[in-house]
Each structure stands twice: as C-alpha cells, then as structure tokens.
C-alpha cells in the first residue's frame, strides 16, 4: 500500500467545515433543538476531539459530519461542507458514494456493529469492493497489512475468524481497519474505547493513534474522557447541552482551560478519601477464606481466594474482565455457591447457597449493580422500589414506611415530593443509581457490594456518586466491597486494594502499600494503563508497558 502522498501535500487545507449546525430531536411528537448552532472546522490530517457528558450532542454532531442524522433526529439549519461539497444539498446517491469510501465511522460497540454471520475479512472487503475502489484480492492483501499495523495477532489469518472468535479489543481494532479500508479522508470515532478494559483501551488507543498518523487521515474523536482525548487529538472541543463551551489545541485545553465547565471536567478524579486508622486487632465483619468457585466444568473462575472486610472500610477489588472479581461477589452473596472454602460473617460461617440463608443474613449484605437501568424494575414506582425492603426486612407499614422512604430519598439528596411517585424511566442514569443506593440502605445493611457502580455513568455524575457513597459511609459506618476496573475510582475511595488476575489474588493490602512501588508486575501494568491528563503520556508509556507485558506472558487472558 502506498501512503497517500496526495493528501500529504494538501495537509493544512480545510477538509470539513460545519457552520451554524442546528439539529432537532423528536420526543413525544414534538421537535426540540438539541444542537444549537455549532461550528466545526477540521483540516486534513488533523484529529479533533469532541468531548462532553451524555446529552451534550457530541455523537449527533459527529454523525452529522457525514451528512446523516439518526432516525428521530433532523438537521434543520447550517452548512456541512466536506472537501468543497455541501452535504446538506447532496442527494442520497452522492452521500452513499461518500460514506464508507471517503468518510468512515467507527462505533462504540464493535461487537454490535459486526455482522456475526460473516468472517472479519469478508466484512472488511465489502466496502472497497462495493464502492469499486479496488478488487477483492487487493483488498484482502491490504487488510493483512492493516491488521499488522494495528498490531492484531497473526494478521495473515485473523481475518478468517468470525467476530465472536476474537476479543473485544481486537474487534475494535478490526473495526478501525475496516474504516481505513478505502483510505478515507475522514474517520469518525464514536467512543471506540469506552467499553474496553483499561489495559485493552491503551492498546487500541495506541493503534488508532499510529494508524491515523501514518495515513494522514483526519479524524473526529468522540469521548467523554478528557484524559483519553488528550492523547489522541490535536484540538479539543468541549460541548454541553448542544452548545460549544470551549475550543482550543489539546495542550491549551489541558494546561490552561478558560471555562469553568472545562475546569470541572479536568478536576474529575481528584476526589480522595481521607486516611483512616488501621484494622489491627479488630475482627472483620466479612471473611472470605480460601474460596474456589466455578460455573461448571473444569475451569475454576476463583482459585483459593481470601479477603477480609472490616467495619466502615472500603475494599476495592480490581482486575480486568475475566479476572473473577464479579464472581467473587456472587460467591459471597450465595448466588454461586463456592465449591471449596467458606465465607464467615462476624465469625459465623454463612450457608453457601442463597436459599439457605435467613432473612437477617440477607439483610446485612446488600448489592448495587453496574447498570442502574436494568437494576430497577421499570414498572415500579420509586415508592415501591424503596418501600419493599423496608416492609420485607423491617416490617414497616403505612405511614412509618412512607416516612422512612422519604427520609431515605433525602439521604441520597433527592427531593422526596418530586421523586417518590416517579418511575425509573423518568430518571437520569445518576438518579437511578442513587435510587439503587437508597434501596440498599433501606435494608440497613452492614456491607454493600458495589459491582462497577460508576462505570456506566458520566464522569462528573460518577464522581457525585462516589462522594455520596463516601458520605454515607462516614455517617452510617457501612463497609463497601468495591468491584471495579477503574483505578481512578480505586484511588479515590478505597482503604484496601485486592488485585485479581485470572481468578487469583496477585496482590492485596492497604491502598498506600499497593499503590506505592515496588509493585507486582500486573499491578503496575494496570496502574500504567490509566490515561493521564497529559498529551505526551501515551507516547511515553507504551515503551514501558512492552517491557512489563513481556514479563507477564502466559499469565494474562489473551487479548
């Protein structure tokens, strides 16, 4: 494949220019403006980061650069000029010729964007062959080159696999390769790494960054994570509620943001828990002793795991997907009775299976889930969601139940009168997660297991939730077992850290000890994968990681 000398020569020329872009969305049969006159200018070979929380309109604007609006949306005003062509005036046929060949799109979930019935290479070749850019044989050859450049393992043969036969990080890279197939002038990346583990995310980021540089492709990179966009973008545009807040080069934005909102985004992850006294001499409320568990078959998902949790402390369980951290929670709650080992509660052995535990044992241990959308029954009002555990565990009825429900709502900083009769659908993601917390508190538990409770939320919202959990711990002296893959969260809220890898604990101890060197190699790999607010971070860190990974060969889940 030849590098695109033509576009190289024209670098600096304006490729995409959107002026006064207005987009409306339809809800309940009414059109509401969701993007209020945004201007975007993108030059050849340049990467623009669009950043904002959900509802900021960043994806909508990104997709509009292809002259497209999703069903239920319409572009009402403004111009979209792509390489001298007005996309708002272009016909469907002209747009179709453009999409895929000159403008490509990489979606957030590669797993959902690939057709599971076709091999990767067939899907790769479809676009160039369809657009008549190159014949099948040539496209296949180039695919192998691209797969190699994106550092996919075994580039000659990986294309002959089906989407379910490769990992999430590999699929996202295969998707990027697919977008590059026609050597487009512009690629729109829509949160391509949000669904990935930190260690996988960094690989995908590095691959995308290299390939975009190599081919001088212009890109729009959409994300809610400022640290990620700082690695990728030449310039950054901060959006909020469909308005531009601030535009500037990546370095300017990180080092000297002008607007308050940008500063808030930057300040995320600075929250830290205050130091607590040590546990010496105290009995733990929960003790997991040499637990081994399996979902059937010979593969042990947990191997000889021991953890202790003390009163009013937070134990963070960290690891990548497949490390067994969620399974540990299932073994503790009895959803998955362990094969060997024992769980003790205040020194008393807990029955292995959920069904054998009595109501009081169940009450003392509650759980909060990752997805507040599915953790709340959409057909129940908030009153019933919180009222049920009050009635079930504590026998509250009538006025007493109502009063306590309102009290709990106030406790999670939600106005009782306003929210008590609402249904989950009428709440935002952060509010739903608060309701889940209130439902746990209703049982008056001693231990709350938090399974990735902030991963599905925007960063500012996630931070609010963490602060709320911390305040509740200070007031109510509850303990948390905090399962997460996000080390920033761990740094913020944990007292003790347990690092898991393939069902085993590789390191555990007080936060300061685990986070301070010397680390176990795997802990260091995890730590080094967390993007920092420094545009040079990615380039510097990759070298160091290669070394660490070579030490861990054979010990990690295959990526």
């Amino acid at each position: 494949m030849t590098t695109n000398n033509d576009s190289d020569a024209r670098k600096g020329e304006v490729l995409l220019e959107m002026r006064g872009l207005r987009i409306e969305g339809n809800s309940e049969d009414q059109w509401h403006e969701i993007v209020h006159g945004v201007d975007v200018t993108l030059r050849r070979g340049e990467v623009l980061g669009l950043i904002g929380e959900s509802g900021a309109g960043k994806s909508t604007i990104g997709i509009a650069s292809m002259g497209y609006a999703k069903p239920g949306l319409r572009i009402t005003d403004g111009t979209i000029m792509f390489d001298g062509m007005d996309l708002r005036k272009a016909s469907e046929t002209e747009l179709r010729a453009l999409r895929g060949s000159r403008i490509a799109y990489v979606a957030q979930s590669a797993a959902a964007s690939f057709n599971p019935a076709h091999k990767l290479i067939d899907q790769y070749c479809e676009t160039p062959v369809q657009h008549g850019v190159k014949p099948r044989a040539e496209a296949e050859k180039e695919a192998v080159v691209l797969y190699g450049r994106l550092r996919l393992p075994d580039p000659e043969n990986i294309g002959y696999r089906y989407p379910h036969q490769v990992s999430g990080g590999q699929l996202q890279r295969a998707m990027t390769a697919m977008a590059m197939a026609c050597q487009p002038d512009l690629i729109v990346f829509d949160e391509p790494t949000t669904a990935l583990d930190v260690t996988t995310q960094i690989e995908v980021l590095a691959a995308i960054k290299d390939i975009v540089r190599l081919y001088h492709t212009a890109a729009i990179y959409i994300t809610h994570d400022l640290a990620v966009v700082a690695q990728m973008a030449d310039s950054i545009m901060v959006l909020r509620f469909g308005d531009t807040i601030e535009v500037g080069t990546a370095r300017e934005m990180i080092e000297s943001p002008k607007e308050e909102y940008t500063r808030q985004l930057l300040a995320v992850r600075t929250f830290r828990k205050e130091e607590e006294v040590s546990n010496e001499g105290l009995d733990p409320i929960l003790k997991v002793e040499n637990v081994t568990a399996s979902y059937g078959g010979n593969v042990m998902v947990l191997k000889d795991v021991s953890v202790e949790i003390h009163k009013a402390r937070t134990v963070a369980v960290v690891g990548e997907s497949g490390s067994g951290k969620s399974t540990l929670a299932r073994a503790i709650t009895g959803l998955l009775p362990p094969l060997q080992g024992q769980v003790y509660y205040h020194g008393e052995p807990l029955p292995r299976a959920l069904k054998q535990r009595n109501r009081d044992q169940l009450r003392r241990m509650q759980m909060i889930y990752q997805m507040p959308d599915t953790a709340l029954n959409p057909r129940q009002k908030i009153r019933d969601v919180i009222g049920r555990p009050l009635e079930f565990y504590l026998g509250y009825k009538g006025a007493k139940k109502e009063e306590r429900t309102r009290e709990l709502l106030s406790m999670i900083e939600m106005e009782p009168d306003q929210y008590i009769d609402r249904q989950p659908l009428e709440l935002s993601g952060g509010q739903k997660q608060r309701i889940c917390i209130a439902r746990c508190l209703a049982a008056e538990p001693e231990l709350i297991i938090c399974d990735e409770v902030t991963s599905a939320l925007d960063q500012l919202v996630a931070e609010e939730i963490l602060k709320l959990l911390q305040r509740l711990q200070d007031e109510l002296r509850v303990s948390y077992m905090f399962i997460t893959h996000d080390l920033a969260t761990v740094k913020a809220i944990a007292d003790e850290i347990v690092v898991m890898l393939l069902g085993e604990i590789v390191e555990q101890g007080p936060k300061d000890k685990v986070l301070a060197p010397p680390h176990h190699d795997y802990t260091e790999l995890l730590l080094s994968s967390v993007p920092e607010m420094d545009p040079d971070w990615l380039d510097n860190i990759l070298e160091h990681r290669r070394e660490l990974e070579s030490h861990l060969v054979g010990q990690r889940p295959p990526d």
């Binding site: 709650t333 959803l335 959920l354 535990r357 109501r359 169940l362 509650q366 759980m367 889930y369 997805m371 599915t374 953790a375 709340l376 029954n377 959409p378 057909r379 129940q380 049920r388 555990p389 079930f392 565990y393 659908l425 439902r439 049982a443």
Partner: protein, 277 residues
Amino acid sequence: MGNFWKELKKAPISAKLGMLIIVVNAFVAIFAPIISPYGETEIVGSEFEPWSDTFLLGTDNLGRDMFTRMNYGARNTIGIAVLTTILAFLLGSLMGLLASTLGGWVDQLISRIVDILLAIPTLIFALLVLTIVGTEIPNVIACIAVIYSAPVFRLARAVSMNIVVLDFVEVARLRGEGTWWIIVKEVLPNSMPPLVAEFGLRFCFVFLVISALSFLGLGIQPPTADWGSMVRDNATLITYGDVTPLLPAAAIAVLTVGVNFVVDWFLYKTSGLRDDH
C-alpha cells in the same frame, strides 16, 4: 385515561374500524334479550321463511327467527370464546412464568408436556377428547383452554426468559423474595405487552375452533344458538341461492378481522414504544 383517548384519536382508521366492530358485537351480546323480537329457542313461524317485516332475516330450519338467533349466537359464541381464552391465558402464562423463573427440571417437565400437546393437531385432539368426555359446555371450554394454553405457554416462557436474567430480578432473589412475588411483581408486569397482543390473536383462533367444532356437531349443542352450528343447520338453503346461512359465517369473519385490526395496532404501539428506549 386522558392519555388513552389521545392515543385512540391517533389510531389508524383500521384500528378504529376494528374497535367499532368489537363494540357493536359486545353490545349485541350483552343486550341480546332486549334487542331481539323473540325468544332464543322459540318457534315462531314455518321453516325457512324469507326475509320480511315480521322476520327480519327470515326463519331457520325449525322456524325460529334468524335475527334473534344471530343476537343470541353472538352472546354464546363470543362469551364462550372469551372465557376459554382467559382460561388458556391464565394456565399458559402461569406455567410459562413458573418454567422460566424456576428453570431446571420444572422447566423441562412443563416444556416437554407442552411439546406433546403441540404435536397433536388441534381439531383432531379436541374431537377425540370431546367424544370421550361428552360435549357439555364446561368440557368444551376446558378442552380448548388446555389446547390453547400450549402456544401461550411458549410465548410467556420466551418473553419472561429475557426478563428473569435482568438485574432487578436478581435483586429480588438476593433480597430473599419467594417465587410467587418474583413472578407476580417483577416478571409479569414486564411481560404484559406481548401477552396482551397474543390474547387478541388467540381469541380469534379459539373463536374459530369453537365455531368449527359446533359446525361438526361437537361444540355448543342445540337448541343453544351459536354461529357455527347455525351455518350447518341452514346449509341446505345455499343450494337455493339464499345468502341467509352465510350471515353467521360473515359475522364470524367480521369479528375476527376486527379483533385482528386492533391487535395489529396494539402490537405496532408496543413495539414502537420499545424503539424509543
């Protein structure tokens, strides 16, 4: 309620027509004794009299007023069909929800029994059973309800299978809730839309089967008026080019089409709602 009227106004013309048909049928069925000029089994004239002012739609093979019989037929046929469908739904949904919530051997056992039921052709099975146990109305209802609970079971199980794996059901399990609570409070309310749509469709099938059985002489027994047997009783008239015997058949067809119109609209509404989220 205000919402309901707003939705109704926006309904397509076919759905409105369907609702009109259902309302007229329900009205006739409920007020049959008031709007009919004669008694249900009363012999009021000679056989096969033509349409006239005294006998609006003529008389049947025994000299009973056809118009009166049509009204009472609506009451009997629709009433029994509704009752049968409700029974089939109670049985099928309960079994389906139990199978998906409990899983394991309970699911296996019920599912295999249902497989056997589904393997036997409906009408032949009904004929066989009714010949053995007799053709009293409760037998007819029970027999058809059991047969039609099988497809309802399959739907209820499939729908609720996707719901029992959601986190809020796990939350209820972790809380220590019993199976009954989980079925009634957590799973059932979330499986309602497809079940309601299925109710409309099943009603049509049940209705047709009852009419078919009556036509074959094993359904609702004379002298009770019902649309299926009325077609058979007066079939001889067709040879004389008279359309009267086709009227009950037309009534069956019109009601079936009407119900389907409404169900289609409802299905569209519920699937449309799902796209929003």
